[in-house]
Structure formats: structure tokens, C-alpha cells
Amino acid sequence: MKAISRTASTTAPSAEEAGARSFARTTRLLMAPAVIFLLIWMLVPLAMTIYYSFQQYNLIMPMYNGFAGLTNFTILLSDPTFWKSLANTLIIVAASLVITVCLGLALALLFNRTFVGRGVARTLAVAPFFVMPVVTGLIWKNMLFHPVYGLFAWVARQLGLEPIDWLAHYPMLSVIIMITWEWTPFALLVLLTGLQSLPEDQIEAAKLDGASAWQEFRHIVIPHLGQVLYVVVMLESIFFLTSFAEIYTTTGGGPGTATTNLPYYIFQTVFQQNDIGIASAAAIGAVILANIFAIMLIRFIAGNLNAGAAR
């Protein structure tokens, strides 16, 4: 009897251990394909970009290729077009952020009220977010902004004003208008989702306490939306940093370099100047810029994850 129980107690843990080990192996096998895929398609190329940024590497002049040290970076930093593209990138991000978040918040509050046909109106208002950016660029460039045949020119003439050649005279504003048109619906959509999760009883309590609409907005809505606003700002920043299609289809980065942002600058450096080294150095810049926002956002997502686990 004693012997049996002893063998049982010695074999049981080892069987459990073996079971746990094969279990761990199975879960690792389940995760491996996704992890390996992302390693190959994202991290390995990122490492290669860093490597290329230290190489002299021009596709049409292969005889000069070789280790370049920091030359690519010094060339890049002395290139006014790079600085211009950096400034343009930041202008696009800042202006589009301010406009989309403010408009999105105002619209979310407006669409959170009950009125006739709210569902249909909301559906129409978020539609631009689902339009391909390439199509967005062409609609605005051809049918709205065009100085002769565009709708804006016609409206200006109706009002007795001189039609404006938007893309030639206000290229940056035009790009920002297009991006804003696409992304205000996103801000609206997310903020509206946030508003709808606002606890009803808090509002009721505030109303009973005689809070004005402004007090209600300032002390209940804004704190509740704080998280949502944070996420919208971070996500939009990351997406605005990489704006491309709207510029590619309309201004082509011009006139001159007026609307060349960092992605477009890199695109031109690779595909028009074939300079892999300098383009890679600029790409590192773009990654660092995106990381500033991404790190904050990822911290927030990770924090949320733990909060979810605690719940």
C-alpha cells in the first residue's frame, strides 16, 4: 500500500510536468507562425533599413557602393528639401489633428442627440472615411479644386469672386482639407462610440443638481472622453505622419516642395534618384518620428490590457 502510494506520488508530478511541457510547446507552436511572419515582414526590413542608412548605395551608380559611415545622415541634414519635408510633415499632422479632433468632437456631440433620421445622417457623415484615399485625391483635385472646371471655381464666380487655383496657390491648405475630409469622420465615429458609453445616470444626477450644459460638458463629458481623445490623437498622428496617396494623386509634392512630406520625400529619393542610402537615412527619421507617438500609444494599450485582465 505504502509502496503504491509512493510510486503514484513520484510519477504523478513528472507526468504533469511532461504534460505542461508539451502544453507549452503546443501554445508556442500556435503563436510561432504569426510572430515569425511579422519578424520577416517588419523587423528584418527595419534592421536592413538601418544597415542601408550607413551604406553608400545608389542603384544607378553601383561602382561607388560601400560603407559610408554617417555620410548619408550629414548629406540628409544639409539638404533643405529634407528639412522642408520634415516641416511639411509636422504641419500636416498638427493642422489635421486640430481640425479633425475639434470638428469630430463637435459633430459627435451633435450626432449624439436624437433627431429625425439620425442613423441615415450619421451614415452619410462617416462615409468619407471608407473612400479610397486615391479617389479622395482625384475628386478634390479634379471636380472641386480645379480652377476652371471645378465646383469651387463655379461657386466663386456665382458670388462674383475670382476663382482660386487651390492646388497652385494654397497647396498645403488643400492637402490639409482633403485629409481633414477623410479623417474627421474617423474622429466622429470613435468619439461618438465613446459618448454612447457615457453612463446615463451621471448625466441625470448632474441635471438634477442643476448643472448647466457647459458644466455637464466640462465636468462629465470631457473627463469621460479623455481616454478616447487620447487614442484618437495618437492614432491620427501616426496615420497623418504617413500621408501619401492624397499628395501623390494631387500635388505630387509641389509646387516645388510645398507639399513634399517625409514619406513623399523618401518615395522620390528611392524611385526618382535611386539613392537607397539617403532614402534609408530619411526612413530612419520617419520611424523615429512615428515612434514618439507610438510609444505613448503602446503604453496606453498595454495599460488597458492589464486593466482588462484585472477586471
Binding site: 502544453f23 501554445t27 500556435l30 504569426a34 511579422l38 517588419m42 526590413p45 527595419l46 536592413m48 533599413t49 451633435l110 450626432f111 442627440r113 433627431f115 433620421g117 445622417a121 451614415t123 452619410l124 457623415a125 462617416v126 462615409a127 468619407p128 471608407f130 473612400v131 479610397m132 484615399p133 486615391v134 479617389v135 485625391g137 482625384l138 478634390w140 479634379n142 471636380m143 472641386l144 480645379h146 463655379w154 474627421t184 465615429l189 462610440t193 481616454q227 478616447v228 487614442v231 505622419l241 504617413t242 501619401f244 496617396a245 514619406p263 523618401i266 518615395f267 528611392v270 537607397i276 532614402a279 530619411a282 526612413a283 520617419a286 520611424v287 515612434n291 494599450i301 490590457l305 485582465a309
Partner: protein
């Protein structure tokens, strides 16, 4: 009370006004697509005209190549979604139901790859693709779309799996089901609606993608985004045709998008907003 009702009415009208204003460019595109080229390209816009399907016929005609691009768009979007789900489901399953101390880190790491800007990996991918013959290749583009959407798909599938009560899975484990049996017999059927909306979101994002399509394809694997972008230098010649092609390209996505608004928010904000 009366003034309150008046304010409510006025705000309703304002909301409708804003909605129509925002929607107007799409409406204008739609109207233009039902015009002839002559009607589309005028100094005084035609608001009233007898609609014609001529531009749609032109856009879809044999020589236009529309079907070639539409096929590439559909193929790459569907294939990248299927591959993405096939990679994400096992990973999300392991993370949601059999977490260990590295799970949180892995999940956050996967999400963080979404925030690497495309230009940060463009150059090596372009060079390697051109070396191995994946440039202007539907498989090459599909795999890029997969990489682009995988973090979102993993996250969404994970969050849907987490909504499934743990005891159901534990009960299956105790009944002696293997990990894979539990996945296929218990978890997947329960998460099917979530998987469907995740797939829909991935389809939309892939269909609308333009950066990789423009940089990585030229003709044989070119998608609708590339085709429509090629109208950028057509000064007024093909506005009606361009509009018809654009309408065909965006209409299915707008309709799908309207049905998936909530999932879109959930996926793109990585669960921070529900």
C-alpha cells in the same frame, strides 16, 4: 420648453446640413459618373441632366482593363485576409486561453509593429522583392497586405476570444479534448461573428490600400487604387469615366463600411474604445 424644442429642431437641421455637406463630394462623384464626358467637363456644372450609363460602359469596356485591376484588388484583399486569419487565429487562441508570463509582451509587440511607418520598411522590401521576382506580383502584394493587417487581426480575434467565458474552454479541456479540438469544436463556432467582422475590416483596409500598391506594382499585379491613381494626369479628358471607375471601386466598401462601423472603431483603436 418651447425654446428647448426649437433648439432641438435647429440642431437636428444643423446635423443634417453638416452630414449632407460632408457627403457632398461623394454625391458629386456619383452624379458625374452618370454623365457623358461632355456633360462632366463644363465650366458651369450640370446639376440637372438625363443620366446615362455610358461612362460605366466605357469604364467596364474590354480595353479599359477595369476587370484586370478589380480582379487583382479582390484577389489580394481576400487572400491577405484569409492568410491573416489563418496566422492570427492560432496565435490569438493561445494568448487568450493559455496565457503565460510572456503573453502580454508578445501581444503588445505584435500591435506595435502596426506603428512602424511603411516607408521605414519600404526600401529593403522593394530591393528584396525585385531580387526574388515578387515585384508587380500578386503574391508579393498579398503578403504585404497580410503584414500590414496582421497586428489588427490578431488583436481583434484575441479580444473576441476573451469575450468567450473561460469555463466553457476549461470544461472542454477537462472532458479530455485536445487543444486543437477545443479550438475547432468550441472556440471557433462561438467566435464566428467576431471572426467575420474582423475579416470584413481586413478586407476593407486591404482594398483601400494605396501606398504598397503604388510602389510595388506596375501592371500585372496592379490594383484598382493604382488604376484610379493613373487618372491623376488625365486633364479633364476622362472625368466621367474616372468617376464611374471610382464609384465602382468605392461603392462596395462604403456599403460594407456602414455595416462594420463599430468593428472598425474596435479594431483601429485596438480595443481602447468599444
Amino acid at each position: 420648453m418651447n425654446s428647448n424644442r426649437f433648439t432641438n429642431g435647429a440642431l437636428g437641421v444643423l446635423a443634417w446640413g453638416v452630414a449632407l455637406l460632408i457627403f457632398f463630394p461623394i454625391l458629386w462623384l456619383l452624379l458625374t459618373s452618370f454623365k457623358t464626358e461632355q456633360q462632366a467637363f463644363t465650366v458651369v456644372p450640370n446639376f440637372f441632366f438625363s443620366p446615362t450609363l455610358e461612362s460605366f460602359k466605357m469604364a467596364l469596356a474590354q480595353g479599359s482593363g477595369y476587370w484586370h485591376y478589380a480582379w487583382n484588388s479582390a484577389l489580394t484583399a481576400v487572400a491577405s485576409t484569409v492568410i491573416g486569419l489563418a496566422l492570427a487565429v492560432p496565435a490569438a487562441y493561445a494568448m487568450a486561453f493559455y496565457p503565460n508570463k510572456r503573453t502580454d509582451f508578445l501581444l503588445v509587440w505584435m500591435v506595435s509593429t502596426k506603428f512602424i511607418p511603411a516607408v521605414g520598411v519600404l526600401i529593403p522590401i522593394y530591393l528584396v522583392y525585385s531580387a526574388v521576382g515578387l515585384l508587380d506580383n500578386a503574391l508579393g502584394l498579398t503578403l504585404l497586405f497580410t503584414a500590414m493587417n496582421l497586428p489588427i487581426i490578431v488583436w481583434m480575434v484575441y479580444s473576441y476570444f476573451r469575450d468567450i467565458p473561460k469555463d466553457i474552454v476549461e470544461a472542454a479541456d477537462i472532458d479530455g479534448a485536445s487543444i486543437m479540438q477545443t479550438l475547432f469544436k468550441v472556440v471557433l463556432p462561438l467566435a464566428l461573428p467576431g471572426l467575420a467582422s474582423t475579416g470584413l475590416l481586413a478586407l476593407i483596409l486591404a482594398w483601400n490600400e494605396s501606398f504598397w500598391s503604388i510602389t510595388m506594382t506596375d501592371h500585372s499585379a496592379a490594383t484598382l487604387a493604382v488604376y484610379i491613381a493613373s487618372f491623376k494626369s488625365a486633364e479633364g479628358l476622362f472625368w466621367a469615366k474616372m468617376s464611374a471607375a471610382s464609384v465602382l471601386a468605392i461603392a462596395p466598401i462604403i456599403v460594407l463600411g456602414w455595416f462594420t462601423q463599430r468593428q472598425m472603431v474596435r479594431g483601429l483603436t485596438f480595443g481602447a474604445v468599444k
